[in-house]
C-alpha cells in the first residue's frame, strides 16, 4: 500500500469539466498533455490542493489527500507536494536562497541555510544565492523554482509547463537537466505540457487529456503510433488518419484486410474489428516508404499507392510530402523523407509518385464521427 504511488481520480461537471483518472509510480515521470483548456493545469492544482474538484479521490504514498465521499480534503500545507508553477511564482522580495529556505520549514532551523545552498548547487546555481528573482534569467528562475519545489522533500513533484516561458536554447538545456535530475529523485513526477515532443522525450508514460477527460495513458511511442481512437490521433498530431472498412482477417499471415475507399490495404492483425466494420486507421509518417524512381525495390509490393504530389515542404534535413492518392477518394497522404532523397527522386508539386504503406504499422481504431480525413 505504502509504495509511494500517486493515484488520482477526479470528476466535476461545472466550471472546468473534469473526468480524469491516472496513476504515477515512484520515480516515474508522467506527462499530462492535451490542448489548451483541456484541464491539465487544473488537474495538477487539484493534486496540490489548490483546487477542490466536486468529486474524487487523491492518494499519495498511502495517505489520502482528498476523498470527497468521506469529506477528506487536506490543505496544500498538509500535502507533501513540490510544485513548479508556469511563471515560477517566485517570491520577488526574497533572494534565491530566501525562496528555497521558505520551503524548508519542516527542517531544523540551523540546517536550513546549508540545505538551501545544497539544493541551489544541485540545480547549478551556486554563487547566485543572494540574487533576487528579477536579477536572474528565465532559465535561472526556473531552476530556483525547481530547487524550491524539491526543498520540501515532497512525496510528489508537480511541474506545470515549466519550460514554456524560456527560449528554445534554454529549454533544451533545461530538458537535459531535468532528465539528469530525475535519476536522483524517487518520487512520482507529473509534468504538464502541451508540447508533444517534450512529453515524448522526457516522460515514461503520457496521458492524453481532452476537455478534462483522460483519453489514453501509455508509453509515448505507443500513444503516438497506436492511438486509442481518432480523437487521440488528432490530439497527438498524427497527419494520416483515414476512414476504412474491414474486409476480413487472415490469421495465417497475421494480417487484416482493409478497404480504403476502393484501395485494398493489408494492415496489422486486428481481429477485434468485425468484417464489414467501419474503422478509422492511421499510419506513422515514418512507415510510409517513397518508391524510388530509378529502380523499383522489393518493398514496393507492400500496399503500393500512387498519386500526385500536392505539397512539398523542405524543412532542413527533412522534406514533408503531401501525396494526393489516386482512388481512395483523393485522400492526402503525408510522408516525410530525407531532403536528399526527395531531391534525387525529383519530387515536386504536380509530379506523379508512388509509396508503400508498411502493413505492420497500419493501426486500426474504432470509428468516431470526429475523424476529419486527409482529403481536404
Amino acid at each position: 500500500m505504502d509504495d509511494g504511488r500517486l493515484s488520482v481520480q477526479v470528476a466535476q461537471k461545472v466550471l472546468i469539466p473534469l473526468d480524469a483518472a491516472f496513476e504515477c509510480g515512484p520515480g516515474e515521470l508522467l506527462a499530462l498533455t492535451g490542448p489548451s483548456g483541456s484541464g491539465k493545469s487544473t488537474l495538477l492544482r487539484c493534486v496540490a490542493g489548490l483546487e477542490r474538484p466536486a468529486r474524487g479521490r487523491i492518494a499519495c504514498a498511502g495517505r489520502v489527500w482528498l476523498d470527497t465521499r468521506r469529506r477528506v480534503n487536506a490543505s496544500p500545507q498538509q500535502r507533501s507536494v513540490g510544485l513548479v508553477f508556469q511563471q515560477y511564482a517566485l517570491f520577488p522580495h526574497l533572494t534565491a536562497l530566501g525562496n528555497v529556505t521558505a520551503a524548508l520549514g519542516h527542517r531544523p532551523r540551523e540546517t536550513r541555510n546549508a540545505r538551501a545552498r545544497e539544493l541551489l548547487a544541485s540545480v547549478h546555481l551556486a554563487g547566485l544565492e543572494e540574487r533576487r528573482p528579477a536579477q536572474l534569467s528565465g532559465g535561472q528562475q526556473q531552476r530556483v523554482a525547481m530547487a524550491r519545489a524539491l526543498a520540501r522533500d515532497p512525496q510528489v513533484l508537480l511541474l506545470d509547463e515549466p519550460f514554456a516561458a524560456v527560449d528554445r536554447v534554454t529549454r533544451q538545456k533545461l530538458h537535459r537537466e531535468l532528465a539528469e535530475l530525475r535519476r536522483t529523485l524517487a518520487m512520482p513526477i507529473v509534468l504538464v505540457t502541451h508540447d508533444l515532443d517534450e512529453a515524448a522525450m522526457l516522460a515514461d508514460r503520457m496521458c492524453i487529456l481532452h476537455r478534462g477527460r483522460t483519453l489514453q495513458i501509455g508509453p509515448p511511442h505507443e500513444v503516438m503510433t497506436r492511438p486509442a481512437d481518432a480523437l487521440v490521433a488528432r490530439l497527438v498530431d498524427l497527419r494520416n488518419v483515414f476512414e476504412g472498412v474491414v474486409r476480413g482477417h487472415d490469421a495465417a499471415t497475421q494480417r487484416t484486410v482493409l478497404d480504403w475507399h476502393g484501395v485494398t490495404l493489408d494492415a496489422a492483425h486486428a481481429p477485434s474489428f468485425a468484417p464489414g466494420a467501419r474503422v478509422a486507421w492511421t499510419i506513422p509518417m515514418s512507415a510510409i516508404v517513397l518508391h524510388r524512381r530509378d529502380r523499383p525495390s522489393r518493398g514496393e509490393h507492400e500496399n503500393p499507392v500512387h498519386g500526385t504530389v500536392q505539397e512539398c515542404l523542405a524543412l532542413g534535413d527533412d522534406t514533408t510530402i503531401g501525396l494526393r492518392v489516386a482512388g481512395a477518394r483523393d485522400a492526402l497522404l503525408t510522408l516525410r523523407v530525407p531532403t536528399h532523397v526527395a531531391r534525387r527522386n525529383g519530387i515536386a508539386v504536380g509530379v506523379p509518385a508512388g509509396a508503400s504503406l508498411l502493413a505492420e504499422a497500419i493501426h486500426l481504431m474504432p470509428w468516431r464521427d470526429a475523424v476529419s480525413e486527409g482529403a481536404g
Partner: protein, 222 residues
C-alpha cells in the same frame, strides 16, 4: 497658535491610523481576493465618503450617534456619556470617512501581488499567518504605508464631518482645522495663518514620506 487643537488633531489621526491598519488590511484583502456576492456593492459603499458632501456624511453619522439611534443608545449605556460631541464620536466618524483612503491603496497593493505567489507559498508548507507576514505584507507594504500616511494627513485636515459630529469643544473635539476656522471668524489672521502653515507642512511631510517609501520599495518589482 492653539497647541491644544494641534495635539488633539494628532491624537485623533494616530488613533485613526492605529485602528484602520488592521481593519483596512482585512477589508482590502477580502476585496482583492475573495469573490463574494455583493462585492461590487461593498466597494461602492466604501468609496461613498469620497464623493458625499461632508455635511451629508456628518448628518447621518450624527443621527446614528444620537440617543434615539441604537448605536448612540448602546454607547451611552456603556460609557455614561453621549457619543455625539465627544472624542470617541469624533474617532468613530474619522474611521468611517477615512475608510476609502485606507482601503483603496491597500487593496491595489494586495491585488498587485502576482496570482500564483500565495498558492506557491502554501505549496512550500507555509502557514496562512506565515504567508501573511513573510510574503503578503512585505510585498504590499508600500501600498499599506501610503494608505496609512494618506489617512493620517486626511484626518488632520478634515473639517466638515468634524464640525457636524464633534462641534467645537476645546480639548475634546476642537481639531486644528476647526481652530483655524474659529480664528478666521474672530479676524485673528496671524494665528489662522500660522496654524494653516503648520498643517500644510505636516501634510507635505506625510506625502513626501509616502512617496519616498514607495519608490524605495520598487527595485524587486521586476
Amino acid at each position: 497658535m492653539d497647541w491644544q487643537a494641534l495635539a488633539l488633531s494628532l491624537k485623533l489621526a494616530a488613533w485613526t491610523v492605529a485602528l484602520l491598519l488592521p481593519v483596512g488590511i482585512v477589508v482590502a484583502r477580502a476585496l482583492a481576493w475573495r469573490r463574494f456576492a455583493g462585492r461590487r456593492l461593498a466597494e461602492a459603499a466604501l468609496a461613498l465618503p469620497l464623493v458625499l458632501p461632508p455635511t451629508v456624511l456628518g448628518y447621518y453619522l450624527l443621527s446614528a450617534f444620537g440617543a434615539r439611534a441604537p448605536l448612540g443608545r448602546a454607547f451611552e449605556a456603556l460609557a455614561g456619556h453621549p457619543l455625539a460631541f465627544s472624542f470617541a464620536g469624533l474617532l468613530a466618524a474619522s474611521l468611517v470617512f477615512n475608510l476609502p483612503f485606507a482601503v483603496q491603496p491597500m487593496q491595489r497593493a494586495f491585488e498587485a501581488i502576482p496570482a500564483d505567489v500565495r498558492p506557491a507559498a502554501a505549496c512550500c508548507g507555509m502557514s496562512p499567518w506565515r504567508i501573511f507576514t513573510r510574503i503578503e505584507l512585505p510585498l504590499a507594504w508600500p501600498g499599506v504605508l501610503s494608505a496609512l500616511v494618506l489617512t493620517f494627513a486626511h484626518t488632520l485636515g478634515e473639517f466638515g464631518v468634524v464640525l457636524m459630529v464633534g462641534g467645537n469643544i476645546p480639548g475634546e473635539t476642537r481639531t486644528i482645522a476647526i481652530a483655524i476656522y474659529d480664528r478666521v471668524q474672530a479676524f485673528d489672521a496671524s494665528a489662522a495663518g500660522l496654524m494653516a502653515a503648520v498643517l500644510l507642512a505636516l501634510s507635505l511631510a506625510a506625502i513626501a514620506i509616502a512617496y519616498s517609501t514607495a519608490t524605495r520599495a520598487e527595485p524587486y518589482r521586476g
